[in-house]
Symmetry: C2
Amino acid sequence: MDNPSDACRGELYIVGIGLHPKMLTLEALEAINKADSVYLETYTSPGVDEMTSFLEKIRFGEKITRLTRKDIEEQGAREIINKLRNGEKVCFLVYGDPFVATTHNALRLEALRLGCRVNYVPGISVYHYSISATGLFNYKFGPSVTVVYPRWGIKFTSPYMTINENLERGLHTFVFLDIDEKLGPMTPDIAAKLLLEASTEFEKRNLNENSVVLVLERMGGPNEKIYCEKLGGLPNKRWGAPPYSLVIPSKLHFMEKDVLLSIGLGCNKLF
Amino acid sequence: MDNPSDACRGELYIVGIGLHPKMLTLEALEAINKADSVYLETYTSPGVDEMTSFLEKIRFGEKITRLTRKDIEEQGAREIINKLRNGEKVCFLVYGDPFVATTHNALRLEALRLGCRVNYVPGISVYHYSISATGLFNYKFGPSVTVVYPRWGIKFTSPYMTINENLERGLHTFVFLDIDEKLGPMTPDIAAKLLLEASTEFEKRNLNENSVVLVLERMGGPNEKIYCEKLGGLPNKRWGAPPYSLVIPSKLHFMEKDVLLSIGLGCNKLF
């Protein structure tokens, strides 16, 4: 800020809205309610229909502006920053928790650099929710990975390597699946194929066709589903509606196993 | 269940209440509101005063039953299970998220085994909140650790080893600090001393006096504090009120560094 009169007078709320309207926190509701403008980011999660209509009810029928990746990278951030400089309170809403995906740190940093007040309002993320829901122990998770669609002819092998290293250390891995604007949310069979293809290029294959994988569908929603499969069997399965994610478990503690057998479908055949 | 007439007719809600009343979700509020009995677990987190009074307001002035570790291990679980069998709706409230600490899976399992309906209501945990608040990237965290008070003359070295291995892989570590019924919540200086003592027993010392550590105080509350220190300097510092936790960062991405410099106290001297 070169001139003090340029000082940012507005306030930015970067708000996690969880996975379903029932997961909205009091703090999130208050921020959405008192904001001058509300934007909903739609590119890091496919989201659920109930959410938009619920948010619009809180805003007394006002349409919520939905932002694609292109919007925010080309225009959206500029529009938001301008409103902040004009003294507006702006809400930027993100499914789950806003900073589990690293991408929204860019907006936070830009607003902070301009001297705007930035409030982080946490939300329940699919990552954190799923770990607790499955009964797997949080402290036994290594770094998570995202399996992405091949782009520019490149198949990315780093997710495979991280999973393999985690297994080496006895650690579970949470696996996010890519969302492409044209191809849509990646299904578990495509992720399994990509991981198995990558694995053939390496000598030590902790992850292979016989590895057990937990498939998670629509976590946090009223019809969420957790089931156990072998990685090699995924390419022949059919799926319910998105969103999806996977967990590659390492060796289980007996209590992790007991919870999984109680709540996950088909786990008794595999553990 | 030997006899079908013994079937569990009640419903157990294992509810994360977050770090501050503002983090309560709509789902948590509904469960607390409609339950026949409400128990608050007080031994995995020191909690905050505002929470109990807020919870009692929701229950129209009814006192919330607080459970110590001894209560739940000797009596509490039995009392809860009996109420469930009698057809009651019981809320078991936990600061943060109920399954980030592994201990509450025992209650979930016992209720599931008896055929009770068990609902997991997620909450914002200090672990997940802190990672997002600091701007560090979620996918760069290795397994977390808990530094515990020496007990039965044993000093536990496994947290040190996990941190060391994480640093080896370029991963950050979230460090929970023990809470003892008599000694209270462990302060960062004691944790630093224990980690440094453990480190002297090993040859390769990725973690040492010069390692940077983030000290986190009262995260999620109105006067939370994030600051950067050297691990060797912690034993001479003074602290604000609990609760505390630590993060041992590995090599930072430039964006992680930028956010930390914007929000963490004293980080500009150390990075």
